[in-house]
Point group: C2
Chain length 474, copies 2
């Protein structure tokens, strides 16, 4: 490894600088009202049209004759295949389903730079065909390998050179993380945060924002996209030392700050948390067999979609996209369109005055290694109509308004998923909620969760998004 990036400051200092950015509402490059104006202007500046089309109109895509798999002629991008799952850790012991296979590892990256002594993130107004409102706030770079190696043959990708070796900046975060296990087989992207000190030209779709500004924007529905949220989740914070009064407060915020600050206040120390995860991984089995898409049971294909017989889960559809500022101006592609809105919630509880979130050990069809850490409630309620409801779902749905600390609707990745909205909730439970929980659950502090996200394949993407939401509350 080159020593050009030899660090002169310590990890602790890095955490402190991130925390300062999360606390800074003044000293910003673009005040938030001006951001909203800019964002509205970017939305208006470009026109897009996304239309559902029959599979037969997808240019460059075809169903393979033998397998029925939906593939691109180049063999790149992604494919929709079949998956057969056997597991002892789900509502069903066995099922088959369509799944997206995208073995390439893309890059989701945010450039950060100090202005006025405060770290700012270079964010992008970017259209994705699956977004409800089309344009959302995205990372500096959001590129599949096909993308950045120019299989698209589109325009060059701005700022790509900062996210590939040799490094021009300082690497602050760089970790492989999973994406939606219900829809992707073993999908991972590289989540990166790179600090630069150079002068960076700011292109018209880009804007510098502090973490405090981003935290504010994360309370707006369908604004900050999934790619931004997962990259932001990898940012480690120190507890703010300049707020002693709040740290001592008997409030949700006080308990959250203590959760970020204190090691001694954790119900379970690191070895026990890691052991809980190891126990879940070794106790449970997940057997994944790739099968031809035309061998999937309980799903039916028409010329316009592949859907579940009972109308559950999701459909595979085709879309036609016309865009003026995307790398290529017109394209067609398959997408996955979920049925219903998901609910992703952390139950949070003060234990000894320190906030803990209830993390779930969860297995999904496409999980990379049997188990990942998920929100307390991770489901699409509609899929459970007439069936036994997931544990703790009622605690979230029936929570009194004062207990709901965070409640926002975000979209999942708009490049693959069509109108995939999830409701993200943090709900506080009271003293009557037991500390003792079933084996698939564990109480964790914000500090512990934040530390685990620095390593690969501990937290799933939904839990990472929710953790990003939790950090907006202090």
């Amino acid at each position: 490894m080159s020593t050009a990036g030899l660090l002169t400051t310590t990890d602790d200092d890095l955490l402190r600088r991130f925390t300062e950015s999360a606390n800074t509402h003044d000293r910003v490059v673009v005040p938030t009202p001006a951001f909203h104006e800019w964002f509205a202007e970017r939305q208006a500046a470009n026109s897009y049209q996304v239309t559902q089309v029959p599979f037969g109109e997808l240019a460059g895509w075809r169903f393979q004759p033998d397998s029925g798999n939906l593939v691109h002629d180049s063999g790149r991008f992604f494919a929709v295949e079949g998956l057969s799952v056997h597991t002892d850790h789900s509502e069903h012991a066995h099922w088959t389903q369509p799944i997206i296979r995208q073995p390439e590892t893309g890059i989701l990256g945010i450039l950060v730079k100090e202005f006025n002594g405060v770290l700012h993130c270079l964010m992008q107004a970017k259209m994705e065909p699956g977004n409800v409102n089309l344009t959302q706030l995205s990372p500096t770079l959001q590129a599949t390998r096909s993308n950045y190696t120019r299989v698209h043959k589109g325009k060059p990708i701005p700022y790509l050179e900062y996210f590939t070796a040799p490094w021009r900046g300082r690497v602050l975060v760089d970790v492989l993380q999973s994406e939606q296990g219900a829809w992707f087989l073993h999908k991972r992207n590289r989540n990166m945060v790179i600090e630069v000190t150079d002068d960076i030209p700011v292109l018209e779709d880009f804007c510098w924002l502090t973490l405090a500004q981003l935290h504010e924007l994360l309370h707006v529905d369908n604004l900050v996209n999934m790619d931004s949220r997962t990259v932001l989740s990898g940012i480690p914070f120190a507890a703010p030392v300049d707020r002693p009064s709040i740290l001592d407060e008997d409030s949700f915020r006080g308990a959250l700050l203590r959760s970020l600050a204190e090691r001694k206040g954790a119900l379970h120390e690191l070895p026990s948390v890691l052991s809980w995860f190891t126990e879940a991984k070794t106790k449970h089995t997940l057997d994944q067999q790739r099968i031809p898409l035309n061998r999937v049971d309980g799903w039916r294909a028409t010329d316009k979609h592949i859907s579940h017989d009972e109308g559950r889960y999701f459909s595979v559809i085709g879309v036609d996209v016309q865009a003026s500022n995307r790398e290529v101006a017109h394209w067609t592609q398959p997408m996955l369109a979920p049925v219903g809105r998901g609910l992703l919630a952390f139950l949070a509880k003060r234990i000894g005055g320190v906030l803990h979130v209830l993390v779930q050990a969860r297995t999904q069809a496409g999980t990379f290694d049997v188990i990942e850490m998920a929100p307390t409630v991770h489901c699409t309620p509609e899929n459970y109509e007439g069936a036994e409801q997931p544990r703790y779902l009622r605690h979230v749905l029936d929570a009194p308004p004062g207990a709901i600390k965070h409640d926002v609707v975000h979209s999942e990745e708009g490049g693959r998923f069509h109108h995939a909205e999830n409701r993200y909730v943090v709900a506080e439970v009271g003293d009557d909620f037991p500390v003792e929980v079933p084996p698939d659950f564990i109480w964790m502090t914000a500090r512990q969760a934040t530390n685990l996200v620095r390593y690969s394949n501990y937290f799933n993407v939904e839990a990472r998004s929710l953790l990003t939401g939790l950090h907006t509350l202090w």
Copy 2:
């Protein structure tokens, strides 16, 4: 998760207690000379005979007619299959080879308990048919799942109840770790350290030892087995605060203690170390396809062994084992017998007065996820005769005697590998050795390495063994 194991002390305190055990030569339950007497007595108390036999004499094992795979009639234990490998990160771009597939996750566990205020490890004198000297010092528990779920139908396994939920003790280490990637496909075992406060009956093959005693025994050839070494590698240490004079010393030991102690002295901070690993994983490819054993090219089978045409790498053989104190007293099994003795070495260098070891990003046939962190030199020199030698091999072989800080021969897992000896070396390089190294290498402090071993699939088993060796030097 149950809160019965709610921790009352912090992680820091745990590290301090491990360090104290590693420093304690007095206050031991069994003085080291008495240990050696006991160990010799245990070796003498039981007689074993291990004989190589033709495959046809392996009871319960057979070659599957279609695939030629060597399997057990029960479908359990393990199988010898074929593997086809394509990678851009090895001497060869493509090869096929026999490989052991053992999807079950076993447990390697050490019970620890305080005596005289010092943590002691319950170690076992255990025979394994592949060990050069048959009996070696093993963890408290060393059990495959077939083993502990009694597929063997043998005697009950001592102390098993301490390593399965519900926990009777406090979990200090519990992590899934990989084993030999050259010989196993995706093999992992659960590495555990459990602290108990109960009175524990000490069976005749067991003995309590401090970490200081184990560190001393790790300098003896073929005494502490691989299973012990990998579990010990998971033990995190704090720098000893009671040795200020050594900490300030301009010596190898001083530099090593500072390497364990200081965060600020690291050449690369944690984000850069993690990024280096992510970069290697995303830059390289490893495609592993299971193939029938009879489709492996360049290997030939006789009735007694399956060997490489040029006599390289390893052979698969059959052995007959007669033992008096094993769970079952007589059995036959296939084993993998490596050709030649491996060399596993860390180059170590003082950078700014802090010792750093040179860690390699390495891909092997059976690696779980493209790359793991390996020793600087990780090879069997004989396999490179007439070919280009691995990088840094000459630095180890030509190191002056004073530069060799650790040099010991250990066996790999004697339950699967027959006489699989590796030479483990830590060799210090001087100021003339460049700090700048190729992309597949990175300098890491002892503290950084020790921290990474707490997470799964960062360090490979050879690097973990060597890290255990490094800890014997302070």
